[in-house]
Amino acid sequence: MIVHLSVLQVIIPLIAAPICLLLRKSELAWAFATLVAFMTLAVSVALLSQVMQSGPVSYELGGWEAPWGIEYRVDMLNAPLLVLISAISALALLASRTSIENEIPENRHTFFYIAWLLCMAGLLGITATGDAFNVFVFLEISSLATYTLIALGKDRRALWASFQYLVAGTIGATFILIGIGLMYVMTGTLNMADLAQRLPDVENTKTVFTAFAFLIVGVCMKLALFPLHLWLPNAYTFAPSIVTTFLAATATKVAVYVMIRFIFDVFGFEFSFTHFPLQEVLLTLGIAGIFVASVVAIYQDNLKRMLAYSSVAQVGYIMLGISFASQTGIMATLLHMLNHGLMKGALFLALAAVVYRMGIAQLSQMHGIASRMPLTMAAFLIGGLSLIGVPLTVGFISKWYLVSAALENGWWPVAAAILLGSLLSVVYIWRVIEVAYFKPVSESTPDVKEAPAALLIPMWILVLANLYFGIETSLTVGVSQMAAADLFGGLR
């Protein structure tokens, strides 16, 4: 059993998806999908603890040896991400049955769970695999499932959002495919570890340069780096709320992971940062993304769209961490990936609760809503503080390391820019707090009750996680530190 953990991680949801179809009844499908998500969570936790104890876990699919067969490889870099994906997925599924009641027609519920499981399998697959082509395949599995999930949104604009994302996502994925193909041409291998060993011999060829460029651009499309983010706000806004929760907390993180894996592991630090102006590009786009997206977020009335833009800004922070090209920088990036998953998960779940009760999360209709839905808005408040980076929340921890990394490089203006970015997030979060808490309930405020427990419980688990990991940081910081050390030390 233990030996097969890394493949079980992906196989369980992948097999569970068609089984859901057989179950037909939506309650059964929900119960089953949730059970599966918790099983994958257990597997990923077991994997993480094993990786922490005894180093990377490698698994040869079908018994074919590594460079020829497909290898699944779980190490310090992806193990925590696997936990994040399955944990968020499990919590979101817990809330999903209630949340989709009003958002998706009854007869499509079963399909919803199927698509969800496939999406999850895809994301886990991208993360767990050690094979470059496999990354592409799982990327497409998760993407196709995601397009479906988004198209399930109640508003007809969801269809357009889904189509937009389909076009952008396919172009991104095809770019990645080109990159992988060119790499294969030069090295004759698709295994990441093998690629890492063979690429240095041919690294000064145009083909490898082109491969790298295609790959990075493709991935940037998927992770919505400014200005390739145009698909994201619509997709997040019109998708069913619970889907947005899941995607915002995990999907972009997985794309970032792919980027880190290729930059630092496959191509290697030296190649990536000496032959390419990667540092300048990521730095500029990261900072531009932080400011532009944050400013746009300030002017949104639809809160899901506001948080979507905030996600684009957060991707900017994550990219900054990579652009520092230092161990502390990459550590801050990894940390922020996990932490941002927690905060966005909590925030979007709170909005899911708002949407469940009000039908839409429109700020202009939320006057004094905190008196009607105190627990939900308290969750939003804490999640928001975490997003701003107030001490004792996870947001503070990531900002702290991010700024430390900037100072370590001697980039004082960048450190200042990070903090200024936080100021912008203060503005857009505080707008909501002011309306929800300090405006008297007006006539446009619908007469609603507190969200049901099925939404509140997962929401507050995430909120408490925001606080817990903001105070007891040894696990998250420790894991990120080890992963960063691996990227800069061991593997090559």
Binding site: Y147, T148, W160, T174, G181
Partner: protein, 117 residues
């Protein structure tokens, strides 16, 4: 010679640009999907070309033959083709639903209708 030798790669580039252009500039969603498919197909051709080795034959073990083409790229691209078909199918399904709820598949009209609402 160099130019002609890389003939199929030029085709790949031309097809890719045509596809890309259609995706960006076409107003009709169906045409966009066609462009997307052309774009993907160009990459398939690229993969297939990569596996060809001058003078190599099909990779079936037989006496007297030592030079084989690389079969792996073909296998890989089979997967990619399947993915491509799935994408196109899903895209078309979405377009059908867009047509159902908007009554049009022209991007401009869709935006106009959203603005009205």
């Amino acid at each position: 010679m160099e130019f002609l030798g890389l003939f199929n790669y030029w085709v790949v580039i031309v097809l890719m640009m045509i596809g890309f252009y259609i995706v960006i500039c076409s107003n009709n969603l169906i045409k966009k999907l066609i462009g997307l498919t052309i774009f993907q197909t160009s990459v398939f051709i690229m993969y297939i070309s990569m596996g060809k080795i001058t003078g190599g034959t099909a990779p079936v073990l037989a006496d007297g033959i030592t030079l084989y083409s690389n079969p792996l790229t073909h296998v890989l691209i089979l997967t990619a083709i399947v993915v491509g078909i799935a994408t196109t199918a899903l895209g078309l399904a979405i377009v059908v639903r867009i047509h159902e709820s908007y009554g049009t598949v022209e991007e401009d009209d869709i935006h106009a209708k959203d603005k009205q609402a």
